[in-house]
């Protein structure tokens, strides 16, 4: 309560001093590199590429060392002390943005998105996703921006394929979030079976196989698979299931 009062007085003071003109919407995306225990890795960054609804690209691809500035916005690493982050900032348009995280070594990463629709009473809407990546690998997310004040400002989902599912299973073992090769292999084979079923067009079979994988993941919760992986894998299977 005390903090609320302080915040209210604070905002009121500012607004009294600064006459409101107009506000533009803004999205800021921060990426972080983390240790498996959640600590931030010093001096490490993870780059990503943002593709707007029109297909324009902003970001940096460490694989090709290519910079993209196809729509105007800020992009680059910055930091406080040893902790660095790659920050992208731009004025959004309605639609779906794709964020493709590009690995530059084995790492856990998190992506934060702060969405400001120009309404100071609404404030910032924040979204967060995390994942695993390694050198040359990518993880994709879809972020949707909506300026309609009657709807949420945005949402984000992990974009998955059987191939990315296999990648997440393998990297989870590599980073230690799955502590058993056997479990990893079991999950990996299930993911391969899903991939083959889909290649054959057997979506019904793939659906059953997805369910089996989900069951196994949930069965290992609190055992050989850390919660962070369970979240990632369930998001992967959900996306695949919804796009069969």
């Amino acid at each position: 309560m005390k903090i609320m009062i302080i915040a209210t007085i604070f905002i009121s003071t500012i607004l009294m001093n600064l006459q409101i003109a107009f506000a533009e919407p803004h999205i800021q995306i921060n990426s972080h590199v983390k240790y498996a225990n959640g600590g931030f890795v010093s001096e490490e960054v993870v780059y990503y590429i943002v593709t707007d609804p029109q297909g324009h690209v902003l970001g940096y691809d460490p694989r090709t060392k290519q910079h993209y500035n196809e729509f105007d916005g800020g992009y680059g690493s910055e930091g406080i002390g040893d902790i660095n982050t790659v920050v992208a900032g731009f004025i959004p348009v309605d639609g779906t943005y794709t964020i493709e995280v590009i690995g530059d070594g084995l790492m856990v990463f998190s992506i934060e998105m702060g969405i400001f629709r120009g309404n100071y009473t609404e404030g910032l809407s924040k979204l967060k996703v995390s994942g695993l990546t390694d050198t040359g690998l990518t993880s994709k997310f879809q972020m949707t921006y909506n300026s309609d004040p009657s709807k949420p400002a945005g949402s984000v989902i992990r974009v998955a394929t059987p191939s990315s599912l296999k990648q997440d299973i393998a990297l989870s073992r590599k980073i230690g979030w799955i502590d058993s090769d056997g479990i990893m292999m079991s999950l990996y084979k299930k993911a391969e079976a899903i991939e083959k079923s889909l290649e054959r067009g057997s979506t019904g079979t793939a659906k059953n196989q997805l369910d089996a994988l989900i069951n196994e993941v949930n069965a290992q919760k609190g055992k050989h698979i850390k919660d962070e992986v369970i979240k990632i894998l369930l998001e992967d299977t959900q996306y695949i299931s919804e796009h069969l």
């Binding site: 302080i6 915040a7 006459q19 600590g39 931030f40 940096y60 680059g76 040893d82 902790i83």
Partner: protein
């Protein structure tokens, strides 16, 4: 008048005898004529008789008589005797020839028929000399009918000039004589006479003053005798008469002992310090009138500057140009005039000092206020003031001064008022409100009337408001919610950063990690928010203003000011130290010129870590910074390259 035939047949009735008269004698004559005619008709046959003219019409000059000749003719069908005779008239001014039976006319008439082919001539006299001007009618009676008589009496035609006489005299100035000119415009010669009705007028007293043929003119002198007259104004008449009595009256006015009359006319400025005054002087005398012009700055002590004389009584306009008058002073002038009857002092007239400065040189001077300093968008404490003087240094009041911002344009600076007028001390002022840009401001004061010194230039310097300096080591508050990660030390050997998970975790503080936060507090302080980094920290924690690693969401100012303070984010403003990409420092210049501080990412080579500072201005090729982390650092060159800039623009313009 052509002849009109009258027919008479003796054996017809007596109706032809159209005589209407109450005169008893006339009736008696008529009665005898009837009797006589009746007797004769037994002896003579009837004859046709004509008399010419059948009526008499004359125009005569007033006071004269005329004689009208006419003839009577008649023709008889046989040699017979016929009788014709006059029976008188109904007007005393009409006289017919001898009348039957008193005169032997009838005998003569008889003979007329015999010796003169029955034609005779008779004369009718019209005695019009006593008739008034106008038309008069009457009838002459004869035995064969009435003859109408019309006499038009006209006046004599002549002119007298002038039509009135005005004489001004006083005991020291005897009245002079006046001349009248008489012109005969009549068709006949006339004799003229003059007379008057006052003892002080000397005319011919009814005696002839000359004879004039048609078109001729003469001059007669009218004298005046003021001996014994009391002071005052007198009136009388002079009469000019012509033959027959036609008279013209010339009124005479004698003004005896009146002093001059002075009236003031419109004056005008003719040049710098010169003024032409105009007076109308009516001398009221035919003799000499002296006058004196007076002028001075004290209406009670006017000085004579010029004198003159005039002769005659006609009003004259006197003009006097006073020159070399001093500017800055009111002057007073008048005219004094003296004739034999006394002295008249004209009304004292003021010449306002403004009139005397017209056409003079005016000098505009820079009086005070130049060289002041102030913050952008502030009104300077002292106004700019000019002074207008004449060439002698006297203040000039009422001079219009225009005030204009010369430099810089487009910064929103203003002067109030934009137009002013010098007061009685010659001063005019205007106050500058500095615009949104720092730097030198120039204001021109212009004076279209001035011959020197316009425009005058005033300067002022606008400075940026100070950006408050906060140091993060003054604040040991827990920062954000991030704690020290002793499991994962940084490359420099310090604890890493992790989210606080347990009570045993040790939080980082503003002192440790709050450079970006402190920078934001300083930028917001520039725009009027005095919240400290500590207060900001509490607020950002409350609203989720931090990212998970302890950085701040850069759009927080947008959020809390509704866009009033807006983050400008462009690709050009983003570098990447890991990739070796720097941001040109010059990109900050446009913001700094508008007093908008910029947050900049720098690299602290001593600690080998990234750091944020606030760039507040430029000093030559270097930039002035507020460093939240290092008190000794005041210049950007102490860090080197810039890897990112975060400009915040005040959407309401540079002025707050």
């Amino acid at each position: 008048m052509t002849g009109q035939a009258f027919s008479l047949f003796r054996h017809s009735s007596f109706a032809w005898l159209n005589i209407s008269s109450d005169n008893a004698a006339l009736k008696s004559k008529i009665c005898l004529a009837f009797i006589f005619g009746f007797m004769m008709s037994a002896q003579f046959p009837a004859h046709a008789i004509t008399i010419t003219p059948s009526e008499i019409t004359v125009t005569v000059l007033q006071g004269t008589n005329t004689i009208v000749s006419g003839s009577k003719s008649f023709t008889a069908s046989s040699t017979s005797i016929f009788y014709f005779y006059w029976l008188g008239s109904n007007a005393s001014w009409i006289t017919t020839p001898n009348q039957w039976p008193i005169s032997p006319e009838w005998m003569w008439m008889y003979a007329c028929s015999y010796y003169n082919n029955y034609t005779c001539t008779y004369t009718v006299s019209l005695n019009t000399s006593a008739l008034s001007v106008g038309t008069h009618t009457g009838i002459a009676y004869s035995s064969i009918g009435n003859i109408p008589v019309t006499a038009t009496v006209r006046p004599a035609e002549f002119a007298v000039s002038p039509e009135a006489i005005a004489v001004a005299a006083n005991p020291n100035c005897k009245a002079t004589s006046k001349k009248l000119t008489v012109t005969n415009s009549d068709s006949r010669g006339l004799r003229f006479y003059s007379s008057d009705d006052q003892t002080w007028i000397n005319s011919a007293n009814g005696q002839p003053i000359g004879d004039l043929g048609p078109g001729g003119s003469l001059t007669t002198t009218i004298g005046f005798n003021t001996s014994g007259l009391a002071l005052g104004t007198y009136t009388g008449n002079v009469y000019i008469s012509a033959t027959g009595g036609t008279t013209k009256t010339v009124p005479v006015t004698l003004t005896y002992k009146q002093p001059p009359v002075i009236s003031n006319g419109n004056g005008e400025t003719t040049a710098c310090q010169a003024y032409k005054a105009s007076y109308t002087l009516t001398p009221n005398t035919d003799c000499t009138t002296t006058y004196t012009f007076q002028i001075g700055t004290d209406p009670a002590q006017l000085a004579d500057v010029d004198q003159g004389t005039i002769s005659g009584s006609n009003p004259v306009i006197l003009q006097k140009e006073y020159t070399n008058l001093q500017t800055g002073k009111d002057y007073y002038h008048r005219l004094i005039a003296t004739n034999g009857a006394g002295t008249t002092y004209g009304e004292i007239v003021k010449i306002p000092k403004e009139e005397l400065s017209k056409g003079c040189g005016k000098i505009l001077q820079n009086y005070s206020g130049s060289g002041q300093e102030g913050l952008i968008c502030e009104t300077l404490k002292e106004p700019f003031t000019v002074k207008a003087t004449d060439t002698s240094g006297n203040p000039e009041a009422g001079i219009g001064i225009g005030w204009q911002i010369a430099e810089p344009q487009g910064a929103g600076a203003s002067v109030t008022p934009a137009n002013s007028t010098t007061s009685s001390d010659g001063l005019a002022s205007s106050t500058l409100r500095l615009g949104s840009l720092p730097g030198d401001y120039t204001v021109n004061a212009t004076c279209s009337e001035c011959t020197e010194g316009s425009p005058q230039t005033f300067t002022a310097t606008a400075k940026c408001p100070d950006v408050p300096q906060y140091y993060q080591d003054d604040y040991s508050d827990d920062y954000d919610g991030i704690c020290k990660d002793y499991e994962n030390l940084t490359a420099s050997g310090e604890p890493g950063v992790k989210s606080c998970a347990s009570a045993n975790d040790k939080p980082w503080s503003i002192k440790d990690k709050g450079c970006a936060l402190t920078n934001m507090a300083m930028v917001m302080g520039r725009y009027g928010n005095t919240a400290s980094p500590s207060t900001w920290n509490k607020f950002l924690t409350q609203i989720g203003g931090y990212t998970e690693d302890g950085n701040i969401w850069w759009t927080v100012p947008d959020v809390i000011t509704g866009g009033g303070i807006k983050l400008i984010e462009r690709s050009a403003y983003s570098g990447d130290r890991k990739l070796g990409i720097t941001v040109p420092k010059s990109l900050m210049d446009d913001y700094l010129k508008k007093c908008m501080p910029v947050i900049a990412q720098v690299y602290n080579s001593l600690e080998k870590s990234m750091h944020w500072v606030v760039v507040t201005g430029k000093d030559g090729n270097d930039y002035i910074i507020n460093d939240p982390g290092y008190r000794a650092n005041t210049r950007l060159s102490q860090y080197g390259d810039v890897y990112k800039i975060r400009p915040y623009v005040n959407q309401n313009g540079g002025c707050q």
